[in-house]
């Protein structure tokens, strides 16, 4: 006969006792329920007639969802993952201003080297030519000049954009340019690369702004502003 195990009845949490250094699994108890609560067959208790007013009134139906605001939505995680994938195709590591740092562990691991090799170019990284180097070589003045030229095309100045930096304005204009495709559901960098690959000649200044925002650690700049507005899970009443 196997030695009798000391059992203290149904316990919800496996506890560590001195006589039992191994944690055990418990397959019963409310916390370890495997079936979904909705699957249980209708028992006598739940036979509430919805036509009866008292039953309906007593039943507590939650009408509002209570999502956790800290948790990122699936849309946000998808966009950040797209941005990370695109960032990993950069040929130059982002932290270039410390060339003589030997064992400098950058935060979270920066963009890795892309193995261009024999099958480089479009197949491996998605870049057609030297857009990335050109974008990085643009100065701030050039970006501001680009923006001034864009504003000069309009008859009247833009309203409701007073509090925004030039970078934000450039990126919002990029979102609203419909000739490069829909801006919802795609990271801005990925949209730029896609437009470039399709030969639509997106402005390289937008790429410069995006790269600077990435280096600045601003991950929120990858998601279009209208995307956040359209897919907001908090509907205000």
């Amino acid at each position: 006969m196997p030695p009798k195990r000391k059992s203290s009845g149904p316990r919800a949490v496996p506890t560590r006792t001195p006589s039992n250094p191994q944690s055990t699994l418990s397959f019963h108890g409310k916390q370890n329920k495997v079936t979904k609560p909705g699957v249980a067959p209708a028992t006598k208790q739940t036979k509430k007639d919805p036509a009866r007013l008292e039953d309906t009134a007593r039943a507590e139906i939650k009408t509002e969802a209570t999502p956790d605001p800290e948790e990122p939505t699936t849309a946000e995680t998808a966009i950040t993952q797209q941005a990370d994938d695109e960032a990993s195709t950069f040929a130059l590591p982002a932290a270039q201003h410390h060339p003589d740092a030997e064992t400098h562990e950058t935060l979270g691991g920066r963009a890795e080297e892309s193995d261009v090799g024999a099958t480089g170019g479009k197949a491996a990284t998605g870049w057609l030519a030297d857009e990335e180097t050109r974008a990085r070589s643009l100065t701030e003045t050039q970006i501001k000049l680009y923006w001034r030229q864009k504003e000069a095309l309009r008859l009247a100045p833009r309203v409701h954009q007073e509090g925004m930096t030039v970078y934000e304005k450039v990126l919002r204009e990029w979102d609203m340019s419909g000739q490069f495709g829909p801006c919802i559901g795609i990271a801005r960098l990925k949209r730029w690369k896609r437009a470039n690959a399709l030969g639509l000649k997106p402005p390289v200044e937008v790429l410069a702004v995006l790269l600077r925002e990435m280096e600045g650690g601003n991950g929120k700049a990858q998601r279009a502003y209208v995307d956040e507005l359209m897919s907001s899970r908090f509907v205000e009443t």
Partner: protein
């Protein structure tokens, strides 16, 4: 006693060498064009507008080039056709041409919003064979709808769409051609007083560039630094079959056994066995199992609802029948030692339902699994290649593009008069939208929401375009403007017709082998 007579019966093993025919080797390179990323890298957040945008952006240059060549010197009444950038730039009375996406609004097409509304009230109508109602082309005057007793597109509206907007198309020219939602075309005409665009002529992108034979293998060898072999052995034949429909219940074993014996060279005379020995590969193009799709049909749902109110999630051990997969697995495992097999899933197979269908998982084939490459090992063509639907691969140097039939079946529903499936396949090739985004995806054909734009259009013209699960065997050669030649094959369902298609890889001429079982009485 009669020792002489018994001498023939009891003999030592003879030294006579019997000729054993060897199967021709198959050169095979699968292309991972339609494999989707796995796990968390596969996103469904994006919308389908990305697909339409990328499709238009990729095909617009090609169709505009063809259109400008065709209409450069076109003149009507002293006026030449000018090109407009955007669909909404057309002006009334001006002869011009524009390129955009076709959109057909048909009242009987499945409409998601109507489905949701109707779900609560009426039982669903049976699925339609065609989406038209008969009658004249709606959009013409009332005369057309009432007076035209023949078939047509009643109530259907045809529109041309691009980023700027939509334009309604009219004109007698439209009733002649094949028009399907999602095709990228260039139309020439003028705007009439109603605001509709009257079409005088229409152009499609036509076939893209076709690679030469052995180009894939030579390219890969060059990349790896190996020398390019100029001498290639003589290729054999490729056997293509579709719609095995193994259900595990009916007596479908006899036809399959006949096929098995033929392919293994066990049956028939030595001449036929020689012929069977020249078959180097078997391609199974969809619907190997009879009703194993993960999504139950409406009838199954109704039956399940009637059985009891209890909903079961996932695997119900009482109702799951493992016999069909087991039977298929055993059949494949008997064939595999002798011949390499490429398996494409179909509409009724246990894999994803939206195109591109991912390969049937190795877990379904416990015996045939031994012939597959391990998933973590080096990627190479396994002997048994369970591949995607649609699939692109290079067999014996020729570029094959195979589908399980869903795109063609969906296009068939859009065309009221046309019963010619070969015409539809040719049209799909000329639109450069074969698979997985047949023109009608994602409108009426379920599709993965692609965002990148890589797999939308046919970049290179295949040499063989084979479509499975068609009602009968048909074949044709489609010729392109640059001298491309595509062999189009409609492969019939084996369960109904018992036909096996053999494609000779030197001449690309198909032939049919038919298996029949005599019914008693």
């Amino acid at each position: 006693m009669n020792g002489d007579n018994h001498a023939d019966l009891l003999q030592p093993p003879s030294n006579v060498e019997h000729a054993v025919s060897e199967r021709t080797a198959s050169h095979y390179t699968p292309l991972p064009t339609y494999r989707l990323p796995k796990g968390e890298h596969r996103h469904y957040q994006q919308q389908y507008a990305d697909m339409y945008f990328a499709r238009l952006a990729q095909l617009k240059p090609a169709v505009e080039q063809i259109a400008s060549e065709a209409w450069a010197d076109f003149e009507i009444g002293g006026e030449t056709a000018s090109r407009k950038d955007r669909v909404l730039d057309v002006r009334e009375g001006e002869l011009c041409w524009i390129a955009g996406t076709l959109y057909m609004e048909m009242p009987l097409k499945p409409n998601v919003l109507e489905d949701i509304g109707k779900e609560h009230w009426i039982a669903a109508p049976p699925p339609r064979v065609k989406y038209d109602t008969g009658g004249g082309l709606g959009g013409d005057s009332e005369r057309g709808a009432h007076a035209g007793g023949g078939k047509g597109l009643a109530g259907a509206q045809i529109m041309l769409e691009d980023e700027s907007g939509r334009l309604r198309l009219t004109g007698g020219y439209l009733s002649g051609g094949l028009l399907v939602t999602g095709a990228i075309v260039a139309v020439m005409g003028t705007e009439n007083s109603d605001g509709d665009f009257e079409v005088l002529d229409l152009r499609v992108p036509d076939l893209p560039r076709q690679p030469s034979r052995w180009e894939t293998e030579d390219g890969e060898a060059a990349l790896q630094g190996k020398s390019v072999t100029t001498k290639r052995p003589i290729s054999g034949k490729v056997a293509i079959i579709s719609g095995l429909g193994v259900s595990g219940v009916e007596g479908d074993t006899l036809l399959l056994d006949l096929l098995l014996e033929y392919l293994l060279g066990e049956s028939a005379d030595p001449a036929s066995q020689e012929q069977a020995a020249s078959i180097s590969r078997l391609i199974i193009a969809g619907n190997s199992l009879s009703h194993s799709s993960p999504i139950p049909s409406r009838e199954e749902l109704a039956a399940a609802a009637k059985k009891g109110g209890r909903k079961t999630y996932g695997y119900d051990s009482a109702s799951y029948n493992a016999a069909p997969t087991d039977h298929l697995d055993q059949w494949l495992a008997t064939l595999l030692p002798s011949i390499p097999i490429t398996l494409l899933p179909g509409e009724q197979d246990p894999t994803s339902t939206s195109l591109p269908q991912q390969p049937i998982h190795a877990a379904m084939f416990p015996h045939s699994r031994a012939y597959m490459n391990p998933p973590t090992g080096p990627e190479g063509p396994g002997w048994f290649d369970s591949t995607t639907n649609p699939a692109e691969f290079s067999a014996d140097g020729w570029r094959f593009l195979g589908t399980g039939g869903q795109p063609v079946d969906d296009v068939y529903k859009y065309l009221p008069d046309c019963e010619e499936r070969l015409e539809m396949m040719e049209a799909m090739l000329r639109w450069r939208l074969t698979a997985p985004t047949a023109p009608t995806a994602p409108d009426t054909l379920w599709c993965y929401p692609f965002q990148d734009g890589d797999q939308f259009v046919m970049k290179e013209c295949p040499h063989v375009f084979l479509v499975g699960n068609q009602p009968k065997f048909e074949t044709a050669v489609v010729e392109g403007p640059l001298g491309q030649q595509v062999r189009v094959l409609a492969v019939p369902r084996f369960k109904e017709t018992g036909e096996l298609v053999l494609l000779d890889c030197e001449t690309l001429v198909p032939e049919v082998v038919r298996f029949e079982v005599f019914d008693e009485g």
